[in-house]
């Protein structure tokens, strides 16, 4: 197979910079077969077919979301280690771009609000770590036990506040 048909590149942003993720031609063909039977993927198929192997595939954010879902479904169906070559890297690159976009959108907003169930789970968990560390080597983990205790106290205070409301 000539070099130019060896792979196709898909443009994905990472921290504001455009990166090309390579997909071997065989994987590209496999992906297109899958996309042709996927609702809402017509634009993605066209984008792949239009550029051939000579230019990178450019997709909209919506198309990337559809493509991510297709790759992710495939990953959960077959397992991550049995994906066609390049699928895992492309899936992760799309996820990273989506996370970057979401984080950008969230600038200025605070963390997700605490809820009683999560705080209780946190407190239980920290107590288990402290028990484990104390049993293991009390001297070596003294700082850790103290630190974990402080975080547990802080979580407990927030839980008390929530329960008072």
């Amino acid at each position: 197979m000539p070099e130019r048909l060896d792979h196709v590149s898909i443009t994905v942003d990472r921290r504001g910079e455009a990166n090309a993720v390579r997909l071997p031609w065989r994987s590209r063909d496999y992906l297109l077969r899958k996309l042709r039977t996927t609702d809402g993927a017509e634009g993605i198929v066209k984008a792949f077919e239009d550029v051939g192997a000579t230019r990178p595939v450019e997709l909209t954010a919506e198309e990337k979301a559809v493509l991510y879902r297709v790759l992710d479904d495939r990953a959960f169906t077959t397992g991550f280690h049995e994906l066609p070559a390049g699928f895992f890297e492309l899936r992760n690159a799309l996820a990273d771009e989506a996370a970057d976009a979401a984080q950008k959108e969230l600038v200025g907003r605070g963390p997700p609000p605490d809820d009683v169930a999560s705080l209780r789970e946190d407190i239980k968990l920290i107590s288990a770590w402290i028990d484990l560390a104390t049993q293991r080597d009390a001297d070596a983990s003294a700082i850790f036990v103290q630190a974990a205790g402080l975080v547990r106290d802080e979580r407990q205070a927030r839980l008390d506040e929530l329960e008072m409301q």
Binding site: A75, F80, D96, A99, L106, P111, D122, I143, Q146, L150
Partner: protein
């Protein structure tokens, strides 16, 4: 939020909790020199882990510069929620993506909005 998002969010929250403890470890170890190792909690998404990883304060600080980065033992990586960005031998640096990355970024006390 779909099932994958929910899983990523919960795993991300676990790691945020580990990070909170490790931030306290760093504070309490503040009188040590930056080169001497300190035992930090493995920041993997497995709640039953509880393993400790020795890092210098300088190494810890370098990792902490990025809200979505965590350090975990080499065999404690969850590829469905994170990618390995650096292999340090006994441990690796991972970067969270998806919903877990969002939780990690927005829950970073160092970067919380005033």
């Amino acid at each position: 939020m779909d099932l994958l998002d929910a899983r990523q969010a919960r795993l991300g929250r676990n790691q945020v909790l580990f990070r909170s403890v490790n931030e306290q470890v760093e504070t309490l170890s503040g009188t040590r020199t930056t080169a001497s190792p300190v035992s930090f909690l493995c920041e993997c998404a497995n709640l039953d882990c509880g393993s400790l990883i020795d890092l210098s304060l300088a190494e810890y600080e370098a990792i902490r510069q990025n809200s979505t980065q965590f350090f975990v033992l080499s065999d404690h990586v969850f590829p469905e929620v994170e990618t390995v960005t650096d292999d340090r031998g006994t441990y690796v640096i991972v970067e969270k993506f998806g919903e877990g990355g969002r939780v990690a970024a927005t829950s970073d006390a160092r970067r919380s909005p005033a």
